[in-house]
């Protein structure tokens, strides 16, 4: 059986990728940022995940204004780094896990989450910067990646509660996959930042710290937090944090915090990073109450 063994979150700041790609990570400005990821890079060498479900948002790279999926799951064999206007990042091609990705897509749809299935897609800094900081620079990424793109650009994005419930549905889908796989789920983006308008540059350390605390100890309250709270307190682009709740919902009620890192400044954005271990190994994920998820015939068709 596949199982979710850990949840990881990180910001996905493009300037962090650029600093790494241009050999500037040792500079005094950037050194503290990269030092904050040394723990997780060493830990990942021990954990050796087979697959990462990587929750992120596309920044007008794979999706333009023609099609705006709320939840899109990448089911391809491979995903190329996108050219975001300055040429693609020189990082390894991202290898998918189509069997598990299609299984999650089918399971979630029967569980009443109507996923958009993506068979061809380039992946931008939202996905590749987390790979670079969580695994460290690599010749080949050490895990298969299932991209899960969430619309947090065109309003309204999904609610926090909807994100949490999707996380639970993903956890149920992973648990019903027959192959023995070590699966992690990552939530990316955030923390506080605003990239537009006269209020650009907003950073809210106090609020970010409380968000991290609640993510560990009181995530139920985050499910009810409305979008306006993220916008006011964490800046217009701080809404990305809603994606972290997909990761958190997939871990169950009780988690152990293994590591935490927070740093300002890094370009325009507060860097937040946390590593969580589910305590109940999925046992405290509620069962689905949907008709098809409980239909043996329907489940047989996607097995």
């Amino acid at each position: 059986m596949a199982r979710i063994t850990a949840g990881v979150t990180t910001s996905h700041i493009p300037a962090v990728g650029a600093a790494l790609d241009n050999g500037r990570s040792h500079e005094p400005y950037w050194q503290p940022v990269f030092a904050g990821y040394e723990w997780v890079q060493a830990w990942q060498k021990e954990e050796k995940p087979d697959v990462v479900v990587l929750v992120y948002n596309d920044h007008a790279s794979a999706f333009d204004m023609k099609v705006i999926p709320t939840f899109a799951i990448g089911c391809a064999e491979q995903f190329q780094p996108a050219d975001e206007g300055w040429g693609p990042r020189q990082v390894p091609v991202v290898e998918g896990h189509p069997d598990l990705a299609w299984h999650i897509a089918q399971s979630c749809i029967l569980d009443e989450f109507d996923m958009t299935i993506i068979n061809e897609m380039d992946v931008d800094h939202g996905l590749t910067v987390p790979l670079s900081v969580i695994f460290g620079p690599q010749e080949k990424w050490p895990a298969k990646i299932i991209p899960l793109a969430v619309n947090v650009v065109t309003y309204p994005p999904p609610s926090g509660n909807r994100c949490w419930l999707l996380g639970e549905a993903i956890a149920r889908a992973v648990a019903s996959f027959p192959e023995d796989l070590n699966v992690q789920i990552w939530g990316t983006g955030g923390m506080s930042h605003q990239l537009q308008g006269p209020r650009a540059g907003l950073i809210n350390k106090e609020w970010d710290g409380r968000f991290l605390d609640k993510l560990v100890e009181d995530p139920e309250s985050l499910r009810r937090m409305p979008h306006i709270e993220y916008l006011r307190e964490a800046g217009s682009e701080g809404i990305e944090l809603v994606m972290w709740l997909i990761m958190r919902g997939a871990l169950g009620k009780q988690v152990e915090q293994l590591n935490r890192f927070y740093h300002v400044p890094a370009s325009n954005t507060a860097v937040g990073h946390i590593v969580l271990r589910p305590k109940a190994d999925g046992a405290d994920i509620p069962a689905s109450d949907t008709i098809e998820a409980n239909s043996p015939a329907a489940q047989e068709m996607i097995a």
Binding site: P14, L202, P265
Partner: protein, 155 residues
Amino acid sequence: MSIDQPDASPARDIHGYLAAFDDIPGTRVFTAKRARKGYQLNQFAMSLMKAENRDRFRADESAYLDEWKLTPTAKEAVLKRDYNTMIDEGGNIYFLAKLFSTDGKSFQFAAGSMTGMTQEDYAAMMASGGRSPEGARSLKEIAAAAAMNNPQEDR
């Protein structure tokens, strides 16, 4: 309202949900209304993801922009690299990123250009921890605080 006590009276429908966004100072949320207004502007910016389009744009910006159904205000704003006006015209920062990337500029440069600060002052503010949310959360709160400080004006 705080992270511990989220908005006790959340918007009951889409109208209330959207109206609340207009209370945030110096911020334009990318609502459906803005997304519709800025469709051509954002799709123009997307086109700059291709190297050959970047080359054509650089060779003659005005002619390239004429291939898109932009409003005169949007076209002028692109030519002047006036990002606040582009956002008023329905532009979204992640789309407009293709434009400032074509110029070899960073998110920090573009964000700073919208604040009315010099690039040096903006960079210094970010290096020292960013803009504080104090007094920047709500236009209503700012107005109420101003009224408290100048009570005579109400009489």
